[in-house]
Assembly symmetry: C2
Homo-oligomer: 160 residues x 2
């Protein structure tokens, strides 16, 4: 039982590492440009603070998820891992939500604020952003499952 | 010890309820308008999906935080409360991050995407959004502390 629980936890962390790596790489390689009335319009993730935050948060998420795999079971470090799991889950959620808000704006615009949609001009960029958001969302779900799994494992004896 | 721990938990939930109520109300009452070249430019939270999400998430957060106060200590419902605490923390974080991303855009704009800042035109609206974001952030921190407090309380006996 403990062994299968440990295996499940390792699989969830591998999923989180893969998803956050995918999210960071796909966002970091997003680039497209278009020419409107002789003016070249360039789209890169570096131009938007929320997308930069997304790349940094997912890179941290990937690094941390892999690092935790090397902690021996039974180590007292696991106490801190549980705390960091909570913080990582919040960090990845914040990054995905902020990038998602900007992606929604890029797709639909906001006529009240005079912000036009840009996805019809730079579809390659928007496709990349959408792909990386899906990976980011998988990372968030993986961390939610890691937290729920920890709660289940630790608290089961307390609520028989 | 158990009594002071319970009191601390209640205080954190009251803080979370007050902060999320403040966040929802201040955002919901945000409204400003300006006239540029004879055109009236109206700013309301309803015009932006991320700000609507922020109001709904904080209203849910306030309702839930108050509801939990009525659960008797020792009830087996606390097992579910811990799970819902995690979900609420992620929901409030997502809402604050998405609204924060839009607020940053409203303040600074994004010249690469052709999105102009709007805060110089509707400062009253932006001040309200900023105020509600600060309340929202206090709510997120309160939920982070609730989670860390739960971890500390439940797991202390496991890692002596």
């Amino acid at each position: 039982m403990a062994k299968s629980s440990r295996l499940f936890s390792v699989l969830l962390r591998l999923l989180a590492a893969a998803a956050t790596l995918c999210a960071a790489i796909v966002m970091a390689t997003s680039h497209d440009s278009t020419t409107v009335f002789g003016l070249t319009f360039d789209a890169k993730f570096q131009y938007t603070p929320s997308l930069k935050f997304f790349v940094i948060a997912n890179a941290i998420g990937c690094f941390y998820s892999l690092l935790v795999l090397f902690i021996p079971s039974g180590s007292s470090l696991w106490r801190f891992v549980i705390v960091f799991d909570v913080i990582l889950a919040l960090l990845l959620t914040a990054a995905t939500a902020a990038a998602g808000a900007l992606a929604e704006l890029g797709k639909k615009g906001n006529s009240h604020a005079g912000w036009m949609p840009i996805c019809n001009q730079v579809p390659g960029f928007c496709d990349h952003v959408m792909g990386s958001l899906i990976c980011g969302l998988v990372g968030v779900v993986a961390y939610l499952l890691i937290l729920l799994h920890t709660i289940h494992t630790v608290m089961s004896p307390l609520f028989p």
